[in-house]
């Protein structure tokens, strides 16, 4: 039991440290003018947030963040830099007060919006009271899939999943066409 308590404390500590890493990264990304360095920093940013998702038990989200944010996005950004430039122009004005104000007001509104949400891991949260019990109880029998997550994704939400796959496939073809066209032009 004491070991569990120690684990909780360390988890909170890890959360705090990772969140401050995120803040440091965000400021660094804003301040740097070398876009290659910015791409590297955003890769680290994705890795940190994937670590945060794992500590919050959202393992599937963490998978997606690491693969898309840390892997594919970094490569796509580098490909963009290859086609354009890796130096950012100097900003026009020193400090623009209205955009800053708008950002602060939007952020405050978003934080205010989260106050009504159920607390993290609350078993009485609406999402746990709706159909989740039925899926857990009847899912394996009704669909014949032993894994509940797979049963929901591939059977209960199969049309939704098929639409998602179509979108991802189309996006993949688009990216391959863009990259392939670039290399062919260079050879001529």
């Amino acid at each position: 039991m004491a070991r569990q308590e120690g684990g909780r404390v360390i988890e909170i500590l890890v959360d705090i440290v990772l969140l401050s890493f995120l803040a440091v990264m965000a400021v660094g990304i804003l301040r740097l003018r070398n876009l290659f360095a910015v791409v590297m920093l955003s890769g680290i940013y994705s890795l940190i947030s994937a670590g945060l998702f794992v500590t919050m038990d959202a393992v599937d989200v963490a998978f997606t963040e690491a693969a898309v944010g840390g892997g594919i996005s970094t490569v796509l950004m580098l490909a963009t830099l290859a086609l354009t430039t890796d130096k950012e122009k100097e900003p026009l004005a020193n400090l623009q007060i209205w955009p800053l104000l708008a950002v602060f007001i939007t952020g405050a509104a978003l934080i205010y919006g989260t106050l009504d949400m159920p607390s993290f891991g609350d078993p009485q949260a609406p999402i746990h009271l709706h159909v989740a019990d039925r899926y857990v109880a009847e899912g394996p029998g009704a669909t014949g899939v032993p894994n509940i997550v797979t049963a929901v994704l591939a059977s209960y939400r199969s049309y939704d999943t098929m639409g998602e796959l179509t979108v991802i496939f189309t996006a993949g073809i688009g990216v391959m066409l863009l990259l392939g066209a670039g290399s062919r032009r260079r050879k001529d």
Binding site: I10, M40, S183
Partner: protein
């Protein structure tokens, strides 16, 4: 034991982060990202054992693979200045 390991990993993460932010050359930053990815893998693995769920180990393995592919893409970009070129043909032409 795991607590000490977690703390040590967090400290090395901070060190890699400093190198990524300050790093005078591009290679410092690439190396920092690679090191940071390794630290994330280690952190997830240690956290899994710390909270009594060693099945997190699979996830850290996937992270290791992604980190590897990402670093190779970055280095290819640095060498050829392009990701669409087939590496083997071009390296002969360049040399």
């Amino acid at each position: 034991m795991f607590v000490a390991a977690t703390l040590a990993i967090l400290i090395t993460m901070a060190l890699a982060l400093t190198r990524a932010l300050l790093g005078p050359t591009i290679y410092d930053r690439v190396l920092a990202v690679n090191a940071f990815g390794t630290k994330t893998v280690l952190l997830i693995a240690v956290l899994g054992f710390l909270t009594g769920r060693p099945d997190f180990l699979d996830i850290s393995l996937v992270y290791a693979l992604i980190n590897f592919i990402g670093t190779i893409a970055v280095l290819k970009f640095l060498k050829f200045g392009d990701l669409g070129t087939p590496g083997s043909e071009n390296s002969e032409a360049d040399d």
